[in-house]
Amino acid sequence: MNLTLKIWRQKDSKTKGQMVDYKVTDISEHMSFLEMMDVLNEQLINTGEEPVAFDHDCREGICGMCSMYINGEAHGPDRGVTTCQLHMRMFKDGDTITIEPFRAKAFPVIKDLVVDRSSFDRIQHAGGYISVNTSGNTQDANATPISKHDADEAMDAATCIGCGACVATCKNSSAMLFVGAKVSQYALLPQGQVEATDRVKNMVAQMDLEGFGNCSNTGACEIECPKGISLENIARMNRELLKATFKS
């Protein structure tokens, strides 16, 4: 298929960017979206132009690196997939595809489609862990019984890959689905209880400090999340913060 691509080009974080049009031809519908971008970049390199910078790593939908806003949706029009798993069969011959970086003040553009998501790392550093010495004295996994329901919910929350699609798609650039998932995965397990109060307070404080917007419960993040992280995690985070406030 032949396509017209409208891509955000930005030299660096200080330079103003703009949308630039490109044509790509003979794209197979079996290609992934990133493979299509590879074809474009080879074409650009062959003509002496600067290739389009974009984030990618595992290309298996696990690492959370790819981050494009395609035709007005984070990770494109398919559901439950990252950009690397988005296939060209989702588009038609002759289509014009708009490709932009994930946009949020807390995700500044580094170059073209690459954004700085280290704000997520700083939120994680604020409390998204448990302090356990695992050097040789690891407890037996079955020593502490955990209900099936809680284990499943914690596992669902833990599948968040931190790609930032929730922030990108939220009209308010809110990071509450991400933080909600990270808080929930520990809040549901006994191992997470020891630091639960500090965790939620510190993570929410860091989230606010990073300049993310406020959640207004549109539910767009849940729909666009490639891992299907539920809004329930935001409700749980809210409960956890209220509980932590009263405890302290």
Partner: protein
């Protein structure tokens, strides 16, 4: 605790609490207004009670005014903060693919409701305050002393078709606001999804029935007088 209410989640809780209070107020307002359709006397009695009982006037009314002001002011503050959280807008954004129109446009339905409240205050609240607390007439009686004035005042306000049109339009916006606002208030309060599913059906019914009821009351008085 002060840190909690200045955090993003604390503000969500406060918005949700003020919204729940306003929804409760709306329900009791509707319960009294609907009396005007069936029994002018019952409407007059209820209105006089609400207008003169000290708990309503000096405790509930200030709380209501605070709740309304807080909800609007915080709504605007959050909207500004949220807009600032994305400096460069998307060239193409397909919001309808993942969220409802109501949820994305709460600020506009809220602005329409604010406009209506200004009209409503001019129509009812300011004259009421003037009569009771400036002129000092707490009797609630008509100028000729023949019965209560509340029903007469209500029906008089709904003579003008432009005012009735404005009321109908405002309640359409209120319905749109509640369509998202009801379930959103419970989500913000941390209510679990299992309970929320049950509440959602109730919320949708509330968002349709209450505004529709207010519209029908306005139309009833317009066409009957």
């Amino acid at each position: 605790m002060s840190k909690f209410f200045t955090s993003s989640i604390g503000r969500k809780y406060a918005m949700a609490l003020s919204a729940l209070f306003l929804m409760f107020f709306l329900l009791q307002h509707f319960a009294i207004n609907i009396l005007s359709v069936f029994s002018p006397n019952a409407f007059n009695e209820a209105s006089h009670f609400m207008g003169t009982f000290w708990v309503i006037q000096y405790v509930m009314q200030p709380i209501l005014i605070f709740g309304v002001m807080y909800h609007f002011i915080m709504g605007f503050i959050l909207e500004i903060k949220n807009r600032n959280a994305r400096v460069v807008k998307y060239a193409k954004n397909n919001g309808s693919a993942n969220s409802s129109w109501m949820s994305r446009n709460m600020i506009y339905s809220g602005l329409a409701i604010l406009g209506f409240l200004v009209l409503h205050f001019i129509d009812f609240w300011i004259p009421e305050i003037n009569t009771k607390y400036i002129q000092g007439d707490m009797s609630g009686l008509l100028a000729d002393g023949e019965g209560y004035r509340y029903y007469e005042e209500l029906t008089h306000k709904f003579v003008n078709p432009l005012r009735v049109g404005a009321y109908v339009l405002a309640f359409v916006f209120l319905s749109l606001h509640l369509m998202h606002g009801f379930s959103s208030a419970f989500q913000s309060s941390g209510v679990s999804s299992m309970r929320k599913e049950k509440l959602q059906a109730f919320g949708k019914a509330y968002a349709i029935i209450i505004p529709l009821g207010f519209i029908l009351i306005a139309l009833f008085h317009h066409f009957n007088h």
